[in-house]
Each structure stands twice: as C-alpha cells, then as structure tokens.
Symmetry: C2
Subunit: 188 residues, 2 copies
C-alpha cells in the first residue's frame, strides 16, 4: 500500500501529507493527464514541493501510488474469474487491464514499461503476473496457441489502451481490437 522501502513507521503528519499528495495527484492526472505539474499537485495537497519529492522519488512513483489499489485489485481478480472458461477469463481480465490503463492520459506508458526485468513497481509486476497466469492456463487448456508469449498479450493490451488515448473514446473499438488480438493467439 506504500512505495516506501523502509520499515520504519511514518510520523503522523507524514502519513497525512502522503495521503493528501496521492489524492491531489489523482484529481490532477484525471483532469490533465500524467504530465500535469507536480508543483500544482503539491500546492493542492497543501504541502511544499520538497515534501512531494521526499515521498515520491519521481513522477512514475507518484503515478504508481495513485493506481496502487487498482493494481492490487487486478492482481486479486484472477480468483474471481475462476468460474469462467480459461479463454473467457483472459478476455475479461485483459478488458479490465485496458480499462485501468485508460484511467487517465499517459497511464498506459507507465504500465507497459514495467516489465519485470526493468524495475517496474512490485504492484504492477504482481498485476501482470496475475494476467500471465490466466494466459498460461488458457494455453494449458489448449485454447491459446502453445507458443503464445504472455507478455505479448499484456503489452498488446496496454498498447490498445494507448491507442484509446489518441482517438475519440470508443469502448466498442477497444473491445474489437482486443478480440482481434485474442483471435490471433487462439489455437486452431
């Protein structure tokens, strides 16, 4: 629930400040996208700019904190999809992933770049691992080609969210693009 690595508990005012920063950041990125002014976020949170940097080393760390809960939900949702067929579970999970990645302008780039070996956040890694597990299950069930690479589908999903950032919002199109990719990965 926190990006801090230290095990030392935070002082009470520090906890409040951190929370205020994340909430202000959520409002700001929703309105202006991921590249909105960090100084404005600090001002809206009622803290000095230095306090923002004390809690979040860079913009990506703050963005990941903003979507921390959504990523945790994605990591958990594998179990909730247990009743569906493997391929249905994959489609529903990836749909949710795309929806989350489209929460605000620029977020898809934060999610796609967090491949395990390049130091993406733990929460992002765990979410993607949950998706990869569903994909692996669909492969084992013979519903996806045996040579399917889970990261390929995960990154294509993020890429579909990215396309959505650049054209008019169109959920029907997003679904169409995802189904096209899944059809390409289906075993014949």
């Amino acid at each position: 629930m926190t990006t801090r690595e230290s095990t030392r508990p935070l002082r009470a005012d520090a906890v409040r400040n951190r929370q205020a920063i994340v909430e202000a950041a959520y409002t700001a990125v929703r309105r202006d996208g991921v590249n909105t002014s960090l100084d404005d976020i600090a001002k809206a949170a009622g803290v000095g700019s230095g306090t923002l940097y004390r809690h979040f080393a860079n913009r990506d760390a703050l963005v990941l904190a903003v979507i921390e809960e959504q990523l945790a939900a994605l990591a958990r949702s594998g179990a909730e999809l247990a009743d569906a067929t493997p391929i249905e579970a994959v489609e529903r999970w990836l749909t949710e992933y795309i929806d989350q990645a489209g929460t605000f302008q620029g977020l898809s780039a934060t999610l796609v770049s967090t491949v395990p070996d390049r130091g993406g956040s733990d929460s992002c890694h765990r979410a993607r691992a949950a998706g990869a597990e569903l994909i692996d299950r669909a492969i084992a069930a013979g519903q996806l080609r045996a040579d399917t690479v889970p990261d390929d589908l995960l990154d294509l999903a993020a890429a579909i969210a990215w396309v959505g950032e650049h054209v008019e919002p169109d959920p029907a199109r997003t679904g169409r693009l995802l189904r096209l990719c899944l059809a390409g990965a289906r075993s014949t």
Copy 2:
C-alpha cells in the same frame, strides 16, 4: 515536400534556414527523442528560436517535417508491392510502417494520432491511405475478414511500434506481434 500552406515562394535565406532546422531536428530527435529541446534545435541550426516558430507552428509540425520523405515513400510503396499476394503486401507494408514509426522515441504517437478526421498532416494521411488500400485489397481477395477495419490494423501497427519504444529493441518480437494481429484478422 513542405508543410507551408501559402503559395508564396520563400526567400532564399528562409529556405536555407528551414532546411537547417529540419536537419538539426532530425539529429536531435534521433538522439533524444521527440521531446528534445526546441531551443537547442534552433541553436544547432544557427537560427533564433523565433525563426523555428515562424516555420513550424508547434512541435508536431516540425516532427512531421522531419519524417516527410519517409511518409512519402510509404505512400508510394503500395505500387512496389504489386507483385506480392495481397496479404503479403499488407504484412510487408505494415512492417515498413512500424519500422518508420520506430525511427525515434515518441514518433509512434505522432503517427497514430493523425487519423483523417482529426487534422493530421496530409503526408501522414496519404501514407495511411496507401496502407488502407492494401488492406482493402486483401479483404476483397478473401484473405482478411470482410469486417476488418483498416484503421484498426494501422493503429495496431503504430501501437506495436510504441511497445517497441518501451522495451529493449527486438525486431523479432515486433514481427511476432504484427503476425499475431494479422492472424487475428485473417478470414477462416
């Protein structure tokens, strides 16, 4: 060959300056990506920053000027692919499109956003029209599903280039992602 709308001929020094700006911009975006400093580009071109803005209203206009020739080549390449089967022509054209979109960091966003109805540049529109024509031919030949939307494949191709910007360069992976999308669009 120029983004200027006016029909008035440019003064000789203006022509030189414009050319110098585009060449300096090419070097700069290759090295530092699409968001490199415009002021540095002006300096490298040996002109004042105001001159850069006189020729290019915004960053996108400059970026499009930088890849003007490549876009023109893409627009022309439809004819060069006449000997291939329709589906092969599509794959080869989209491969080229992805390659061009990956010329420097950030370019894929410039190319995907130029859908016809949102005022993208003419050259970009023409290039995409050439790709769409090849796709239409493959549909007519029964090699792609009848309900395939050409813009879907074009934007997925740009999206694949975008993925390539965020992970280690890997041409094999790019090809794999493209073939996956094409397999999804193939008629069964």
